[in-house]
Homo-oligomer: 214 residues x 2
């Protein structure tokens, strides 16, 4: 069966996946952008958003892997945008411009229904209001046998972890301490949930950790 995978999920040494006070100016919360240093340097990121060639080392290889064999994505609503509560209008279409980097169907978890949005380059945003299991079912159907990538944010990953639905997590731990924000580990007993560390790989700017359900 197709897997549910978390990939290139940036984490601080103290376990934070985002800083506090997320808003339009700080999509990853205050200080959270520091978690992405390893990713910004890669060819993968530079080809999507940058102006340079980017680096092609271990970090880049790990970032590339995150896009291989993916047929659909799931995003938490706070990862899709800074808008909270009912959608005031249809104007917010994600952080990523007219052609988002997904190129497959993306299922956005929300409590507030909204028509699907077809973007350029193969990305369609679907809004799922009936919970994480329903979103996974729809994403699996859309993925056509390929894997589903769970993009985040932290709260969404934690929900799927607690439901034991994630098959594999690739965490990219950077040389950063955050101290506050959204913590991946806080109060979650990963071994009790069935997870173990399958592999660690030293990258140029992050340590890559692969967790799998045993």
């Amino acid at each position: 069966m197709s897997k549910l995978r978390v990939q290139s999920f940036s984490l601080s040494l103290d376990g934070y996946g985002a800083g506090p006070d997320q808003d339009l100016d700080n999509p990853l919360g205050v200080g959270g952008v520091g978690l992405m240093g390893w990713f910004f340097a890669t060819r993968v990121w530079q080809r999507m958003y940058g102006t340079g060639d980017g680096e092609t080392g271990v970090d880049n290889t790990m970032a590339e892997r995150g896009f291989e064999g993916i047929g659909a994505w799931i995003l938490g609503r706070n990862m899709f945008g800074p808008v909270r509560g009912p959608w005031p209008d249809e104007s917010w279409k994600g952080w990523w411009g007219d052609e988002p980097p997904y190129h497959v169907p993306v299922f956005v978890l929300t409590h507030h229904a909204r028509p699907s949005i077809t973007m350029q380059g193969g990305t369609t945003f679907h809004f799922v209001t009936d919970g994480i299991h329903a979103a996974l079912e729809q994403a699996r159907a859309a993925a056509g046998g390929r894997d589903v990538r769970l993009g985040g944010g932290v709260a969404t990953v934690r929900q799927y972890l607690q439901a034991r639905l994630i098959d594999e997590l690739h965490l990219a731990v950077g040389p950063v301490l955050l101290g506050r924000g959204e913590n991946l580990y806080d109060g979650l007993d990963f071994p009790a949930l069935g997870y173990e560390c399958a592999e660690t790989v030293a990258g140029e700017r992050a340590t890559h950790v692969i967790l799998r359900r045993a």
Copy 2:
């Protein structure tokens, strides 16, 4: 001035420095011994307790560094032994046999006074009942200009962190998830306490992280 250093402090990916339910059979708590895998493989450890030669790679170099320039140690009482409350007698002399690996004065934090113990090989255990500042003062005086190493455990390191008394921490993060036990990071805001990541070094069996007060 001489520094207060934490060295070779083993930590799980999820931030635990010891498992739950520490006792005579599980000095590092249940599952905690898994944190030490990197250290057991080193020449440093094998020369102290093992039967083999041990490895001489990055992990060993980092372990060696932890003994360089150290003139005294501080240990929490729970690191000294499994005895809790008043000392029933003088029989417990640490986990380390007749010749402990310290070879300098060691100051043990406790609420229960006890005469000093002179061991073979230069280690003397002193019992300090008037708190972490007093222990550091005594250790500094005994160290004669060299650094003081804070051995642990987690609760003791956290106390010294909150008092902003630690100059440098070397954490050895192993490919292990613990889920329960004593967490180093839980509820502590390291950046607010003045700490930042100065360096990370990939070892054979652990990722070495150096934190320093800015």
